[in-house]
């Protein structure tokens, strides 16, 4: 039996045992990965059902070990934290009240029971509950797809929106790198245990990255890890954007999961005739929203997500910490948008400039073309309004057909 946790584990024993069991059943789950739908249905099973379904000749052995162990997961990774569905820090997006009532349990069975992260649970929850845009697509993408995903990542990061992706190559990596280039916040869902992650340390020194996984330390993930990771990315997202995908069950699994949860689904058109564009084009034909750039994605984010947008470009600065900064932000929003105007009511110029600079560096304020300060939130709204106006201009007027 493995040792007690070295790291501060927040997850309860039952959920940790489930994660251990998934790691132990890597072989059968690897075989299930040929059919993503079946794999996700299998991962939704409880511990006893999993043993009964997949353990085969090891059934008695695994059931006995499961019954004996108290806390089966070792920290493995020195900075790994865990949280389960029975803890308040568990992300809200993974709790579906309707499903919960239906299933008669406290959590959504489609969601993982436990998350391992490189951030403490509270910081992780804050990171995951900001509006996330999941950028998904083929691991074998074209140069066009990679460049599009990178531009999307950059644009969303510039608007202060968190970009979520799996740790796979191709579209996911390009989106993550794009967001990191602008120092944006990224969520990376690993397809293996955190102790098996090597590349995340190379993930851009300028971005804030929260790495999470549902797989226990030591679990390689094999073929089922990427599918489970993709399901988790989509479950956490406020919007799912498919950049490139072949028209195969595996590559279009993201769209199926998005419809199942359900999450707003959008697709980026590709080159006509390219096999990697078949997936997005099929989705667009079936009603997925069209995304050609970050402005389109921002316009599609739910209104509440806009309002709750991560105001400091990350979870480490959760908005103005003190009342003075909050008041300053409100005054700027009300139109006192230059230093002169702010000082009309009195106050110290040095302290005010320092506070303005801190808010600007934190991503809460930005400048308009005249150098006046504006809340970053308002700039995002005007970008969304500009996109709406553009879309409205493209729509044919009701009488256009008659006129012709």
């Amino acid at each position: 039996m493995r040792s007690a946790p070295d790291a501060p584990a927040e997850a309860c024993g039952g959920c940790l045992r489930h994660a251990w069991l998934v790691a132990e059943l890597s072989g059968p789950l690897h075989a299930c990965a040929r059919n993503p739908e079946r794999l996700l249905a299998t991962l939704a099973l409880g511990a006893d059902e999993l043993v009964a379904a997949l353990a085969g000749r090891r059934r008695a052995d695994l059931a006995a070990r499961l019954g004996q162990m108290l806390s089966p997961i070792s920290g493995g990774e020195p900075r790994a934290f865990s949280v389960c569905a029975h803890r308040p820090a568990f992300p809200r997006a993974l709790r579906n009240p309707a499903r919960t009532a239906q299933a008669g349990c406290r959590f959504d069975r489609r969601a993982p029971r436990v998350l391992f992260a490189d951030l403490p649970p509270e910081l992780m929850r804050r990171a995951l509950e900001a509006p996330l845009v999941a950028i998904v697509g083929s691991a074998r993408c074209s140069a066009y797809g990679a460049e599009t995903a990178r531009a999307l990542g950059r644009g969303l990061a510039a608007a202060g929106v968190t970009v979520a992706s799996t740790s796979e190559r191709g579209i996911a990596r390009a989106a993550r790198e794009g967001a990191c280039e602008l120092g944006g916040t990224t969520i990376v869902v690993e397809s293996s245990g955190l102790d098996r992650v090597e590349h995340r340390r190379a993930a851009g020194a300028h971005g804030r990255t929260c790495t999470i996984t549902e797989l226990a330390p030591g679990c390689a993930g094999r073929a089922f890890g990427p599918i489970a990771a993709q399901r988790l990315v989509i479950a956490l997202a406020s919007l799912v954007v498919v950049v490139e995908a072949r028209a195969s069950a595996l590559e279009l699994n993201a769209a199926r999961v998005a419809l199942d949860w359900p999450r707003p689904l959008a697709a980026v058109p590709g080159r006509a005739g390219s096999p990697t564009a078949d997936g997005p084009h099929a989705l667009l034909r079936r009603g997925a929203a069209l995304v050609c750039g970050a402005a389109d994605a921002l316009a599609l984010l739910p209104a509440r997500a806009h309002m709750d947008a991560p105001r400091a470009g990350g979870w480490s600065a959760e908005g103005p910490r003190d009342d003075a900064a909050r008041e300053l932000l409100a005054r700027v929003a009300e139109g006192e948008d230059t230093l002169d105007r702010l000082l009309q009511r009195g106050g110290d110029a040095g302290a005010t400039l320092l506070a303005l600079s801190e808010l600007e560096v934190a991503g809460l304020l930005t400048r308009d073309r005249d150098g006046a300060y504006i809340p970053a939130e308002r700039e995002r709204e005007s970008a969304a309004a500009a996109a709406d106006a553009l879309l409205a201009g493209l729509k044919p007027s009701p009488g256009a057909a008659d006129d012709d």
């Binding site: 510039a158 280039e181 602008l182 120092g183 020194a205 300028h206 470009g313 230059t338 230093l339 002169d340 110029a349 040095g350 302290a351 400039l353 320092l354 506070a355 303005l356 600079s357 801190e358 600007e360 560096v361 934190a362 991503g363 304020l365 930005t366 400048r367 073309r369 005249d370 150098g371 006046a372 300060y373």
Partner: protein
């Protein structure tokens, strides 16, 4: 020293009479390239004069500049360059030691890509100069904040991503 001025938009009106489109404005802003802008330390957005009249006179400003230069001369060893713009980077840390809040502001601006290492170095020089003008021996966070604001980080394009900015930032005490 380079002193430059530009109209806010091609028509120069900057009010309701302005007829420039967003495309015109974008084209106008692109006329000054990012690398050139990055080498400009102080950017001031000029507005129409208010009724209050000037806050200071040229004579008073000259006095303050001379006093600041005298402070800078007193800090340097004989024969060494003493103007803040000319002090070598190796001596900058001792000349302009930042407090914790100022260093944090500088580091966060660099981490978010708003300042390159070169930009951070220039901010420290400007902060030291603001402190000199205010006859302050130490560089406080307020001086750094004013220097960052005058660099107008939000109006500039993101700084180029540097592979190893930490080394140069550490040299500045950030």
């Amino acid at each position: 020293m380079l002193l430059a001025a530009t109209n806010p938009c091609p028509c120069g009106m900057q009010d309701e009479r302005c007829t420039c489109s967003e495309t015109d404005l974008a084209r106008h802003r692109r006329r000054v390239s990012g690398p050139l802008l990055e080498r400009i330390d102080l950017i001031a957005f000029m507005r129409r004069t208010s009724d209050g009249g000037p806050l200071t006179t040229s004579a008073r400003a000259r006095e303050r500049v001379l006093a600041a230069r005298e402070l800078q001369r007193s800090r340097a060893r004989d024969g060494d360059p003493y103007l803040n713009a000319e002090v070598p980077v190796s001596a900058l840390r001792t000349h302009a030691e930042l407090d914790r809040r100022g260093a944090r502001l500088l580091r966060r601006a660099a981490e978010r890509g708003l300042l390159s290492a070169r930009g951070a170095e220039r901010v420290v020089r400007v902060a030291r100069t603001i402190a000199d003008v205010q006859e302050s021996s130490r560089v406080s966070a307020e001086h750094v904040g004013a220097a960052v604001a005058m660099r107008s980080a939000g109006a500039l394009p993101p700084a180029p991503v540097e592979r190893h900015p930490d080394r140069r930032l550490r040299a500045l005490g950030a």
